[in-house]
Symmetry: C2
Subunit: 363 residues, 2 copies
Amino acid sequence: MSLSASSPKLVAVEESRRFMIDCFKAVKVPEAHARAQADLLVAADYRGHFSHGMNRLEMYINDLAINSTNGGADPKVLKETPATAWVDGCNGLGAVVGNFCMDLAIKKAKTVGIGWVCSRGSNHYGMAGWYALRAMENGLVGMSMTNTSPLMAPTGAKEAALGTNPLSLGAPAGDCDHFLLDMATTAVAVGKIEIQNRKGAPLPDGWAQDPDGNVTNDAKLAFATGCLLPLGGTELTSGYKGYGLGAMVDILSGVMSGAKYSTQVRKWTHTGANTAADLGQLFVAIDPNCFAPDFEERMQDFNSRLRGAKPTDPNKPVLLAGDKESRNMKAVDEAGGIQYLENQLNTCAALAERLKIKPLSFK
Amino acid sequence: MSLSASSPKLVAVEESRRFMIDCFKAVKVPEAHARAQADLLVAADYRGHFSHGMNRLEMYINDLAINSTNGGADPKVLKETPATAWVDGCNGLGAVVGNFCMDLAIKKAKTVGIGWVCSRGSNHYGMAGWYALRAMENGLVGMSMTNTSPLMAPTGAKEAALGTNPLSLGAPAGDCDHFLLDMATTAVAVGKIEIQNRKGAPLPDGWAQDPDGNVTNDAKLAFATGCLLPLGGTELTSGYKGYGLGAMVDILSGVMSGAKYSTQVRKWTHTGANTAADLGQLFVAIDPNCFAPDFEERMQDFNSRLRGAKPTDPNKPVLLAGDKESRNMKAVDEAGGIQYLENQLNTCAALAERLKIKPLSFK
């Protein structure tokens, strides 16, 4: 899918990582933190979640440059039991806070079967699935969720009162297989509206509202209005369930952690905000060995049953959460790099100039 | 809303409970278990969830009468840590297994901040919110989920491979307020299709599929086909998220507990099955005091922010998960009883005759 008349410009995964680390270091982020944040972003691009990868870099850099995120901050534990912890992210980078919390949840899960860790004072933490993957690498089931800036209109409302509030659940399966759900509780993530907008393409029905609370197909108007529909769409198709799920995420991440929640969360901005985000996040790790033995074998069978369901279109086999991402990683490996959109590359070029770092190289 | 030409027949809440207890006792269920199951069912009707109340009685009675559910069985703990437990429901009644597990989760939450209990060998456990309510009565946040008979077609499939797999999340709030989400991960619960079918009314778009995998409006065909659409509907409106949520519920309840899962679960039947259901269920209780103080005060403010969002229609204020149910209970209290559908009352009359118990009395 080339977006220019010329041949596609590919960026090697390692070069994408190098570029982002350099950007973070240019705004005084310590090496280890820069690497943590870049690892997360490049993983999103590698998996095909462009909305949550390099697409977010400029926003992070802007927040760091004006000190509304503290790139050097380390999180600290405020209260804990053998199974739970309450953490203050101290306004650090999302990946730094998130990795700290998930690692703590993993440690607790290995001791008492479950770790339930929530954090206040965090920042945008990238794709929620990243933290589930961290638990899965330890043979555990992982969950994570975060609140975000108001962008979802509750069913029957014409203004936003919840974020896109994503949640993830990952489970390891036998034979190197897995299940990895990573979803916004809105019909789509705001990144998808941005991508349609960057492409100049319209929106399907059921994604977003106009200022009067009606469904709109205009990506630009939708982006300006900032009222996404919850998963399920309108009331008739049970959009109130998506609205309820978004509220559930905010309760477990924002309200419970003592972070900002609902309309308290600062407005969404790509250009950098002048207040701390104070987002709330939840990280859960569960040791399946505390329940029925042979979890991974059953997961493998479970996955086969879903993938094996009779397809409506015989040429389109049924996919499982995580399958698209696995295919995308394979495609990147085969091509030898990630193919970014042209205007993403323009943004990177401008960033390189602004931060006086080595520009992205292409293959 | 009278359904016959005559004045509505109301059934007092206590009379509904009495009738159901008598039905269960007639098929040899011990008093305490009969009461537990009846309490759950009448609570659903009281809250307006008719699909999960007396509407299910006949199915339970049929299962008990042919011994595919063991009405006298008590659950037992198979494995536990201070924060987790793996339980065998021993094919007991859903409410008996569920109350046992949630009470255990509550006990653990009061000790280490969280209790995560999953059970195999269970039966249909009624409305998922019942168990969250039990945790909320103890000042805790409660969650519950269950797998069910295959009724949801994965995105792109023309056969069912997951159940309606409901989940619930309840949180207490200050001033006797609360948040209570209780939702199937399909666009609608199968009970709603049944109710439309009983009414002879059509289905809206986006609820269910026909045998070729196309969306249908025919309630009878939809009920016969048994392929509900996941929350979100078709792929374009992110139905794969609802499909992913349904799979998440099955992983955490069915796969993890070692119960039946996915297409292993027996087919849905209203007339009684001749095999044990062996459903899997999850019960979680969380003590908010292990995190930021004053949780209930923040919940109250959170609720106000959502209810206070500017409504699209000025005459329809924005509702919160649980608000409809609170209104319904108030209406039942004011009317002095529950108004069942005529054919539900016919079913009860037939049951009374079959089981030789005192028929339902009306006010």
